[in-house]
């Protein structure tokens, strides 16, 4: 009798505890979205949701706030960074999973994991003191001088060659997402069954043909989902971008010039916000950033489900 109560009661209490913890996790997520939305409500009310999202002025003195320059900055920097990072990341994944001898693959994989774990501020620090001078002296100034002489029309497109700005931010972003994208692609490639490879080899395929015709098609779902997840990470990346992009509220009109992303805007202005409409506008930008990341993550999920071939078998 005693043990039955002990068992039943204990089970109930234990399940209840787990349910409470689970509900707490869900509450956190819901609250997070709610607080950002309600905090940004004032801004959305003042400018309208679309008006806020598409407004291109950000002026604390005039109390004019629009998220468009930052939305655009986020989209451009992450898309370009991803475009730069994709092929090298895939190449590294293929090298590790298919080509390199075991010991080399392990060393490279370890290095890549290590770099994926390196904090954003460290990338930012390196960016300020190594990348920015390099970009300024080796890329931006020569290009700028060249265009001043031969194609003055280009100067406006290039922007001031100070090193701090879009180009440096994009480059460091690309470096940061490469390890992440690469390790996701590597995981996807590792999931390809060995007999798939052997079947292609047995038809008289070279190594590359096996990769091209069997491994990559089989792993495509995981690889593309990884690409989109890397994009999501670039969208939310804050510190390194904040340290390098120059944080200008103007539309990102030039290649070298300063700009800002949604995340860098928040990081840069939030602590000094005067409250009221500015604070609300920053929270509203946070809400937009949340929506964008969610959308991108959902796309990744969708791709993984639709393009995977793994569970189609058996």
């Amino acid at each position: 009798m005693r043990s039955r109560i002990y068992g039943k009661l204990g089970d109930r209490a234990f399940t209840a505890l787990l349910v409470v913890l689970g509900l707490a996790v869900m509450l956190v997520a819901v609250l997070l979205a709610w607080e950002l939305a309600s905090g940004g409500a004032e801004a959305f009310r003042t400018f309208g949701f679309w008006g806020f999202a598409s407004g291109s002025a950000w002026n604390a003195v005039a109390e004019q706030f629009g998220a468009w320059p930052f939305l655009l900055g986020t989209l451009i920097t992450s898309a370009v960074a991803l475009a730069l990072a994709f092929l090298p990341a895939l190449a590294a994944a293929i090298a590790i999973a298919e080509y390199a001898p075991r010991w080399l693959a392990e060393v490279v994989a370890y290095l890549i994991d290590l770099l994926a774990a390196l904090p954003s501020v460290v990338y930012g620090l390196w960016g300020i003191f190594v990348l920015v001078p390099l970009v300024r002296d080796r890329i931006e100034q020569p290009l700028f001088l060249w265009s001043a002489e031969h194609a003055p029309a280009l100067m406006g497109v290039l922007g001031p060659p100070t090193g701090i700005g879009m180009l440096s931010a994009v480059l460091v972003l690309a470096l940061m997402i490469v390890p992440y994208a690469s390790s996701l692609a590597r995981d996807a490639i590792h999931m390809v069954p060995r007999d798939q490879r052997e079947a292609m080899y047995a038809l008289g395929a070279t190594r590359w043909e096996v990769v091209r015709r069997v491994v990559l098609p089989y792993a495509r779902g995981g690889i593309f989902a990884g690409v989109v997840l890397a994009l999501a990470r670039a969208i939310g990346e804050t510190m390194a971008v904040t340290m390098l992009i120059g944080n200008s509220g103007q539309l990102p009109y030039s290649v070298f010039g300063p700009a800002a992303t949604m995340a860098s805007l928040i990081a840069n202005e939030f602590a000094e916000a005067e409250g009221g409409l500015q604070l609300s506008s920053l929270l509203a930008v946070g809400f937009l950033l949340l929506l964008l990341s969610l959308a991108v993550n959902l796309i990744a999920d969708f791709i993984l489900r639709r393009m995977s071939v793994g569970e189609g078998r058996k």
């Binding site: 001898p101 075991r102 007999d195 798939q196 490879r197 052997e198 079947a199 292609m200 080899y201 047995a202 038809l203 008289g204 395929a205 070279t206 043909e209 015709r213 069997v214 098609p217 089989y218 495509r220 071939v309 189609g312 078998r313």
Partner: protein, 253 residues
């Protein structure tokens, strides 16, 4: 004496420090079916994979001895494994259709490798191969559907058709029916009798009855050694080694 297609001479396969197959010399006769039998772990699959250099993919494997195809040593320096695998095809234990390809693309995958683009020729090969694999009637109306939608037995026949499409001289089969149901197994066994008109077959099987039913010659492996080789009928009715007799009468295995 029958004409030889392949033979091994003192073939030894090392797996790192251990030995998978020891000193095996085996003739493979042209357009006959040679069955390799023995308890699991006896080295028959290891031996089979040495016949088209599949072991090249595994760096810890080392091979000694000779494997000759039409008198030419497969492991001689300068011999290209890719070219060898084209002449010696392979079908695996589990069906391995390529899941991103249609039935048609699966069958002609080997031809695509060498750059055949001519649609008519590809279609001709696909039809011939699928007919040879006794699958044509079942799939001819849905050649462009994914191959993974087929049943396990059909998938295995796709794998066979795919191997036949490149017109290999020898077809290696590694327990091709062990993952299949009895009806599919029956279909594949029926198929083998017809196939040997065009191609020499070496088949590994864990199933002695299967070996007795389909093969012309049988080799019995035990612990990495080939214990006995002979015409199937003779080996099953009158084995010369007591270990062979013990195995085929079911005393171990």
């Amino acid at each position: 004496m029958e004409p030889l297609r392949m033979e091994t001479e003192n073939l030894t396969v090392h797996y790192g420090k251990s030995v998978g197959v020891r000193n095996v010399s085996l003739p493979v006769y042209d357009r006959k079916i040679t069955a390799l039998i023995g308890p699991s772990g006896c080295g028959k699959t290891t031996f089979l994979r040495a016949l088209n250099r599949m072991h090249d993919l595994n760096p810890i494997v080392r091979i000694e001895g000779r494997v000759r195809l039409d008198g030419e040593d497969l492991y001689a320096p300068g011999v290209d494994p890719v070219a060898i695998r084209r002449r010696v095809g392979m079908v695996f234990q589990r069906p391995t259709p390529f899941p991103t390809m249609s039935i048609f693309e699966n069958v002609v995958a080997g031809l695509r490798l060498v750059g055949v683009r001519d649609r008519e020729r590809l279609m001709g090969v696909a039809e011939r191969s699928l007919k040879a694999a006794a699958l044509w009637d079942e799939v001819k109306d849905r050649l462009h559907e994914p191959a993974v939608g087929l049943s396990g037995g059909q998938q295995q026949r796709i794998s066979i058709a795919r191997a036949l499409a490149v017109e290999p001289e020898v077809l290696l089969m590694d327990e091709p029916t062990s993952a299949l149901d009895p009806i599919s197994t029956q279909a594949i066994e029926d198929l083998l009798a017809g196939l040997k008109e065009q191609v020499t077959i070496v088949i590994v099987t864990h199933n002695m009855q299967q070996a007795a039913r389909v093969s012309d010659y049988t080799a019995f492996f035990l612990n990495g050694d080939m214990i006995e080789f002979g015409p199937t009928e003779r080996l099953f009715t009158n084995p010369s080694d007591p270990r062979t007799e013990a195995y085929i009468t079911g005393r171990f295995g």
